[in-house]
């Protein structure tokens, strides 16, 4: 600070500046309602305004292969789900494949939910926790599916029986 203004002036400025900013935000949003969505979370600026956004390292495992694999699973689920119910016959191998594809499809879906709603930048710790919670849940569910397929009637037959109970 150069020529120090009096404490009273600084106080008045700080208040008026902060209030005008808040009023600016309120006017822009044009509503007095409290946010219907979660608040933005802690934000920080890395470097300066003129630094470009970092470009992630290109990797086909995280890019096109991942995308194609996701689509392959989704498309594969269509016949895997329709066939056993339409034909009425049951094949343990088909049922096992259905379970595996369902598990992977669900896991990838939940992964994208975690990626979207717990940003790495804002909540790095929370992201890590949820990422590993999801991994643990998927392993547990995988064990459950294996048990269900081997000791129970299998997922297709179980759905059929419960649905028609």
């Amino acid at each position: 600070m150069g020529g120090r203004p009096s404490a009273a002036t600084r106080g008045a400025f700080a208040k008026s500046s902060f209030q005008s900013q808040l009023m600016g935000v309120a006017a822009f949003h044009n509503t007095a309602r409290r946010s219907a969505i979660l608040p933005p979370g802690p934000q920080r600026i890395i470097g300066t305004v003129n630094d470009p956004a970092p470009v992630p390292e290109p990797s086909s495992a995280h890019g096109s292969y991942h995308w194609s694999f996701e689509r392959l699973l989704a498309a594969g689920l269509v016949p895997l789900i329709v066939t056993p119910f339409a034909s009425g016959s049951l094949n343990p191998a088909t049922d096992a494949i259905l379970c595996s594809v369902l598990l992977l499809h669900s896991h990838m879906g939940f992964q994208s939910v975690v990626i979207d709603y717990i940003p790495q930048k804002t909540y790095p710790g929370l992201r890590k926790i949820f990422w590993w919670l999801l991994n643990a849940a998927t392993v547990t569910v995988g064990v459950g599916l294996y048990e269900f397929e081997t000791n129970d009637v299998g997922i297709t037959e179980a759905v059929k029986r419960i649905w028609r109970a």
């Binding site: 600070m1 150069g2 020529g3 120090r4 203004p5 002036t9 600084r10 008045a12 400025f13 008026s16 500046s17 005008s20 900013q21 935000v25 949003h29 509503t31 309602r33 946010s35 219907a36 969505i37 933005p40 934000q43 920080r44 600026i45 300066t48 305004v49 689509r71 989704a74 498309a75 689920l77 269509v78 789900i81 369902l102 499809h105 669900s106 879906g109 939940f110 939910v113 849940a137 998927t138 547990t140 569910v141 064990v143 459950g144 599916l145 048990e147 269900f148 000791n151 129970d152 009637v153 037959e157 179980a158 029986r161 419960i162 649905w163 028609r164 109970a165």
Partner: protein, 172 residues
């Protein structure tokens, strides 16, 4: 940056106001000259709201968008599977009976309306996720992106999924 705007606004306001009303904003402007600009810029930038904010859109524009409902219905279906299968693993350890025969027996003893309601609560998400999944596979081939097609297909999608959910709940 913001501090400069405050100053400009204060000067504009000052032009139409009596002298005594100008003194405080001018003092504020003087104060702003001696602050470090980077710091005030970064603190104000961190206070900005994030966008987009769902509340700024009309209900019919975003609330029934298929994209969000794909995720919601998918989470309902996968969430049900995850809950049941994880419970199936721990059930023997805590002495719970949730094998398919007991669940079927318990479900069969429920009144018709509740049975139908529960079936619709899973049948509708299944139908929606199934049909929207097919639609997204068509999108992935780069087809169906005309605005009319999107609007029309979303309406058809909702109709077919609700009917599909009802059929699964009451006629299967």
């Amino acid at each position: 940056m913001i501090a400069q705007r405050v100053g400009v606004a204060a000067l504009r306001r000052g032009a139409a106001q009596p002298f005594f009303a100008q003194t405080l904003p001018r003092a504020a402007l003087a104060a702003s000259m001696s602050t470090t600009p980077t710091r005030s810029w970064s603190t104000s930038a961190c206070r900005r709201p994030i966008s987009p904010h769902l509340g700024i859109y009309k209900m019919e524009q975003t609330w029934f968008g298929a994209s969000a409902w794909t995720r919601i219905t998918g989470c309902v279906l996968s969430g049900t599977m995850y809950t049941y299968m994880a419970a199936y693993v721990v059930a023997p350890l805590v002495g719970l009976h949730i094998e398919s025969a007991s669940v079927a027996a318990a479900f069969g003893s429920l009144p018709f309306a509740i049975k139908g309601g529960l079936k619709f609560a899973l049948g509708f998400p299944f139908a929606f996720h199934f049909f929207v999944g097919l639609k997204h596979l068509v999108y992935d081939m780069g087809k169906g992106f005309a605005k009319d097609t999107i609007i029309k297909s979303e309406k058809i999608l909702w109709g077919v999924s609700i009917v599909g959910g009802l059929v699964l709940a009451f006629f299967v």
